[in-house]
Symmetry: C2
Subunit: 228 residues, 2 copies
């Protein structure tokens, strides 16, 4: 029998769909490649797995080195194994998506010049490799996840108003949701806690500030959408 690592194995990469929410817009972080293949094309940030790394480790390393982010929400999406997906050879990619609050990091089209840029998810450029497929799966996953799991908090500040959370939901789901029904749903589910403080300095009534309830009980949560 052959020794274990004498078999030829495909290369293993991680590709990241990094979602950020800012100014009522859901965006994804893209890199403009300097090298072939897909030179000068936009692609998802990604990198190869090293022997002593888990996928999460690789994701963290990429996020840290390429875009200066740390300690973010990460979830595995799917593994992409098409034989032709990388012109350099057999590369299998494990897709992950990350949710980050752009306000926490300073690289909004910053340090890496034109290399790194946020793109509105509704105005995506052509992507290299099979990254469009990965991106679309990530967006779809985010849409369904937010309906039954409190994932939106990763995209907002520590303290937020219900209106801000409401706008986030409308933005991600691309629908209108009744403001008052949304409020009741979210409060009933006990996903958020009233901090007692209010957002000051607005022209009108100061809304109450909430934070995410990390000790939530059960999955008694289901946003229903009104399509109109």
């Amino acid at each position: 029998m052959k020794q274990f690592h004498e078999y030829q194995n495909p290369s293993l990469a991680v590709d990241l769909v990094v979602f950020g929410y800012h100014d009522n817009t859901l965006s994804v972080l893209l890199l403009n490649r300097r090298e072939e293949p897909f030179k000068d094309c936009w692609t998802l940030p990604g990198g190869f797995l090293q022997m002593n790394e888990t996928f999460r480790d690789t994701c963290s390393r990429i996020l840290k080195t390429k875009v200066g982010m740390d300690n973010v929400f990460l979830e595995q999406l799917y593994s992409f194994d098409d034989l032709q997906r990388d012109p350099r050879g057999r590369v299998i990619a494990v897709g992950y998506y990350a949710l980050i609050n752009p306000a926490r990091f300073s690289i909004i089209a910053g340090s890496m010049a034109n290399d790194v840029k946020w793109f509105n998810v509704r105005k995506m450029p052509a992507l290299g490799f099979d990254h469009r497929e990965i991106f679309q799966l990530a967006l779809q996953r985010l849409k369904s996840k937010i309906l039954y799991y409190p994932v939106g908090f990763e995209l907002l500040d520590e303290l937020f108003t219900i209106t801000e959370l409401h706008e986030l939901y409308e933005c991600i789901l691309q629908t209108t949701i009744d403001r008052r029904n949304f409020r009741r749903k979210i409060l009933d589910a006990e996903y958020i806690i009233n901090t007692g403080t209010k957002r000051e300095g607005l022209q009108n009534r100061h809304p109450e500030l909430y934070r995410f309830n990390r000790k939530l009980k059960k999955n008694n949560f289901q946003i229903n959408i009104n399509i109109s």
Copy 2:
């Protein structure tokens, strides 16, 4: 820069959770290993990915050679990348689950002697590697999938009665579901088509036979469970 495949890469394997339904019991196919590691332990069927294969190809090859099955429902579960998950070295496994109708295949504890056996999912033995984790994720996925997608048909015969489908749901979800409400839900969703024929030779009223409607419209399907 190094050539592409000179990097050392982890080995890539596929592990399969093969579900079968028979006699009102949901079962999983396990193999008793002849070799180290985990010699004489029960494990999920699995195998290494070859350079010219997709994961699905690998799954099909394993199903065909190890248990003689062909052309079955397959879905990717998750990729397992713990550094220590295989004592032989770094092996990354992509979990898949399959749904099969045991009646279609003859290897119910057959050709491979004591090697291959169905286990009731409620009475699983200890499993080698991290296979218990993979199995549990598969079972959980099946449970949630069956609530919104007509996946149960893969486990039944071509023609089936509503009662049989109902029993399948109760078995997988481990609850009781009101017979009459279940019938209405399933019929309203138009997931099944009345064939006009009836199951003959029973002691009581002959139930109508249905088959799966492959041209279903939309995801207007949601089984709700009554826990009692």
